[in-house]
Symmetry: C2
Subunit: 98 residues, 2 copies
């Protein structure tokens, strides 16, 4: 489980999350929407999946990625914690399932 913030640090990965807001999408369709090669996109997917922000489901030969809302909510909470809204125990590398 790598860092959520690290996953959010790359503009392409954030754009992938944005696209997935509309609903699940296949790796190929997702990759076609960006000006980088599929292998490169695959590594971005891996980073997002590793952080827990997205999930993968194999359908046939295709892999369908979808947003993992609960983890995205954690990211929101963490950033809000940096603001000062919370008590004092934010950014605590919580555990998530995949």
């Amino acid at each position: 489980m790598t860092d959520i913030f690290e996953a959010l640090a790359h503009p392409v990965r954030r754009a992938v999350l944005k696209k997935l807001r509309a609903g699940p999408m296949s790796a190929g369709d997702l990759a076609d929407a960006f000006p980088v090669t599929k292998p490169t996109m695959s590594r971005h997917f891996a980073a997002l999946k590793d952080s827990g922000l997205i999930r993968a489901e194999r359908i046939g030969t295709t892999i369908r990625y979808r947003l993992n809302v609960s983890v995205t909510e954690d990211a929101v909470a963490a950033v809000m914690g940096l603001l000062g809204a919370g008590k004092d125990d934010e950014d605590g590398e919580n555990s998530h399932e995949r």
Copy 2:
């Protein structure tokens, strides 16, 4: 003004923001709170300042850093945008090279 998310990507920088929630702090005091050298901390401060997340004010020989709440709020809004709460125009940037 570099990317806010890039600034948030490093654990030390997030911890600095967390510390600054309690109020402004000098570069030296801030640096003493982390297990890295002052020059290294200085570069973390520069990254945070460059992203707009913190602001610097020279007091005498010391420099006082403080949280820039409005930009932190922007970060929260951006992450919430990734979730899907907003309409569809978040994370307004389409550049992907560095």
